[in-house]
């Protein structure tokens, strides 16, 4: 369907179902229960899942397919954010022009950066992108203050022109909206002890995320995608095969830059402000991490990676010693004290420590990320079942293929 093969179509619908019903799925625990803190079904967090999912899907098109490790993609997200806020300042609070311009500006900027950086490969490419990102970050903080508002970050104001809309509404800045539907509007549904929130902004992100995912699937299955994998596999052979690898990598770079811009635009649509810290190289490192964690080069891995990291970030930073003591209340006091003492450095503000350790463990033991883990478990399972049922199972499975 939609030009996808059978397997990809089912994958697409699986993702669609997960995204549409996320407000249910992510709120499995009733309100007020002990476990409610593990719920993730509130708009702000769900939006972040999707936005970073888009960012990671795009990054994966570059890194996963071509193997070019960029350490500067946060810069494109930042540029997208600034472009988005400016559209809201100048034009209208409708999010569509803002998102559109985010993608366009990020695309143009990535074209410039990519054109120069892709003259080199390997570590030199990584350092070039890093240098560009740090340069953008520094400039956003200093000289470009008229455009970026420096350290404070770019915000909306009551006296912004908004020539297609209104500057202010009842003495307040009008809300970001999609043709009149405010992004922050939510519909709450309570069923039994459960409370589910359906947020307009979340579903707008969902639409963009599904489009982004669909495009990524098409790219993966296209001749273009195959050429990108050829770049990763053997660039020399590619050149002696009559293919000019430069425009291929540049196209991949710009596409992934536009994805980053889209993510930046959506961030602005959800919360109309933009700051330079979004461009810092550690932010670029985060998207690398998401992609690797999920599984670079796989279709769904980066989305999982982004969701996993944002979820952990949220949960780990929320947990504090009191909550821990709550969990261990059944244990003898000394044991509980000891456990809390051991866990304490990894929670709350120590979340980054957990993140760093997770990162290392993944790179060391599971370079293919979550997807490789799933595959390994799947293989293990298959081996067991096939040895149980001997060869007749294989014979019957073969014609189905």
């Amino acid at each position: 369907m939609f030009g996808l093969n059978k397997k990809d179509t089912s994958l697409f619908f699986l993702v669609l179902l997960l995204v549409v019903f996320a407000p249910f799925l992510l709120n499995p625990f009733p309100e007020g229960s002990e476990l409610a803190q593990f719920n993730a079904g509130y708009p702000d967090l769900m939006q972040r899942f999707l936005i970073f999912g888009i960012f990671a899907i795009g990054f994966n098109i570059l890194f996963g397919l071509t193997g070019y490790l960029s350490f500067g993609h946060a810069a494109f997200l930042g540029v997208g954010s600034y472009a988005g806020v400016w559209m809201m300042k100048l034009l209208t609070m409708n999010v569509i022009p803002a998102i559109f311009m985010s993608v366009v500006f990020a695309g143009l900027f990535s074209l410039l950066v990519g054109y120069i950086s892709l003259r080199r490969s390997g570590i030199y490419f990584s350092i070039l992108t890093l240098a560009f990102a740090q340069m953008s970050f520094s400039l956003a903080y200093s000289v470009l203050t008229p455009i970026t508002n420096g350290e404070t970050g770019l915000q909306l104001a009551l006296d912004d022109p908004r020539i297609l809309g209104v500057s202010s509404e009842n003495g307040a800045i009008p809300p970001a909206n999609f043709f009149g539907i405010p992004m922050r509007e939510s519909f709450e549904m309570s069923a039994g002890g459960w409370l589910f929130t359906f947020n307009a902004g979340y579903y707008l992100c969902a639409v963009f995320m599904m489009i982004a995912f669909y495009i990524a699937v098409r790219i993966f299955r296209s001749p273009f995608g195959m050429m990108l994998r050829a770049v990763k596999s053997n660039q020399q052979r590619m050149n002696f095969t009559g293919l000019n690898s430069r425009p291929y990598t540049l196209a991949a770079f710009v596409i992934s830059g536009m994805y980053a811009g889209l993510a930046g635009g959506l961030m602005v649509a959800m919360d109309p402000l933009a700051g330079a810290e979004r461009m810092q190289w550690t932010a670029s490192g985060e998207v690398v991490l998401m992609t690797i964690l999920g599984g670079a080069g796989t279709l769904i891995g980066p989305v999982l990676g982004a969701g996993f990291i944002k979820y952990c970030e949220n949960i780990f930073s929320k947990i504090n010693d009191n909550i821990l003591y709550g969990w261990f209340s059944g244990l003898p006091e000394g044991v509980a004290d000891f456990l809390v003492f051991v866990i304490h450095p990894f929670i709350g503000k120590g979340w980054h420590l957990t993140l760093g350790i997770m990162f290392m463990l993944i790179v060391i033991f599971l370079p293919g990320g979550i997807m490789e883990g799933v595959e390994r478990i799947g293989r293990l399972f298959k081996r067991k079942s096939s040895s149980d049922k001997n060869s007749s199972a294989r014979a019957s499975a073969a014609p189905a293929e």
Binding site: I116, Y124, S138, I357, V363
Partner: protein, 343 residues
């Protein structure tokens, strides 16, 4: 003329730090072929060695002096550092005052151990993995190290002063016959530069004149052949990693009085040091040192008021800009060898 001299001097201390970190990075890269993103963290740990020692030295016990009262009328509590009690007030306070230079001795074994553990425990498993994996795992390690430091020392910078003797400034202008008070240069920065120069000299001498260094240099040129000669090159490379860690650590120790150590200083320096390594030429030790100083001085020139007025923001981006230009015009950097990191 005096303005130029001033900028050169100003660039020297930062350049020294860049040069020392880049030197270690290049040593590790040249010998082990590993791109180490955790090298900045080693610099940071060095700086916190200075912090730790100065805290250890000022550990105090409390005595209550009944003869004096504080402003609430309670007996005055007097804190006396243990070292003052042991060595007498004068020697004791001198020791506390000299905490940062003393931290050099303190940090060498610590940094060597940290380097040893890092290489044996992690890096050695990544010799044969792609550079991207090396970057990623050491990046993760850098996060872990800086978070550990943050956990123990907090997020705020910790002022760590140099000994009182060095707190003043040298009127460099008057010294070379210019108007006084034009070129003022803090003593500690001179110390830092001389220290860096000494370390660079020591590392080069070590590589040049010892058998160990000769084997390592041969290993840098052709690891396989050296291995075939029956020389255990791996063991020597472990030592080189520890040495690089010590160099980065010492750079950090002595930098503590210049910029109060904070947990993310390693990351800040790391990015710039990588740029320095690339500009100098991946795998070239003299290149790393040269590029470190050149970029440090260039950065300080770009911060001159006249330059900033002409090209606003140039001071923020000059290093990156130079790196980009160099990488595009001379891909091997200023002094890079052919065939390094070229696939």
């Amino acid at each position: 003329m005096d303005a130029i001299l001033l900028q050169i001097l100003n660039g020297l201390d930062k350049g020294s730090a860049y040069a020392l970190i880049a030197l270690g990075l290049t040593l590790i890269f040249g010998t082990l072929g590993v791109v180490n993103f955790a090298h900045g963290a080693l610099f940071m740990i060095g700086a916190f060695c200075a912090v730790t020692l100065s805290r250890l030295l000022s550990l105090s016990f409390v005595t209550i002096d009944e003869t004096q009262k504080d402003f609430l009328g309670n007996p005055l509590k007097v804190e006396t550092p243990y070292v003052e009690a042991w060595f007498g007030p004068q020697t004791g306070s001198a020791i506390i005052d000299w905490a940062v230079p003393l931290a050099i001795l303190f940090s060498i074994p610590i940094m060597a151990l940290v380097g040893l553990f890092m290489e044996r425990g992690l890096i050695k498993y990544f010799y044969k993995r792609p550079h991207a994996d090396q970057i990623l795992v050491t990046f993760g390690l850098a996060i872990v190290l800086q978070e550990i430091i943050k956990y123990f020392f907090g997020a705020n910078p910790i002022p760590t002063p140099a000994p009182d003797v060095f707190s003043g400034s040298l009127d460099f202008g008057a010294l070379v016959g210019m108007d006084p008070n034009v070129i003022i240069y803090p003593y500690w920065r001179i110390v830092y530069f001389l220290f860096a120069a000494a370390i660079v000299g020591a590392v080069f001498a070590f590589l040049r004149f010892t058998t160990f260094g000769m084997v390592v240099r041969a290993g840098m040129a052709d690891r396989q052949t050296v291995g075939l000669l029956g020389i255990n090159i791996d063991k020597r490379f472990t030592v080189m990693f520890a040495l690089a860690a010590v160099v980065a650590g010492l750079a950090g120790v002595m930098y503590a009085p210049i910029n109060s150590p904070n947990y993310h200083m390693g990351m800040d320096f790391l990015v710039l040091s990588f740029v320095v390594v690339v500009v100098g030429g991946m795998g070239s030790l003299p290149g790393a040192v040269l590029a470190g100083f050149v970029l440090g001085i260039l950065e300080s020139f770009a911060s001159m008021a006249q330059v900033v007025a002409l090209l606003p923001g140039i001071n923020q981006i000059i290093i990156y800009l130079v790196a980009i230009v160099i990488l595009l015009t001379r891909p091997r950097g200023l002094m890079g060898r052919k065939g390094v990191m070229e696939s």
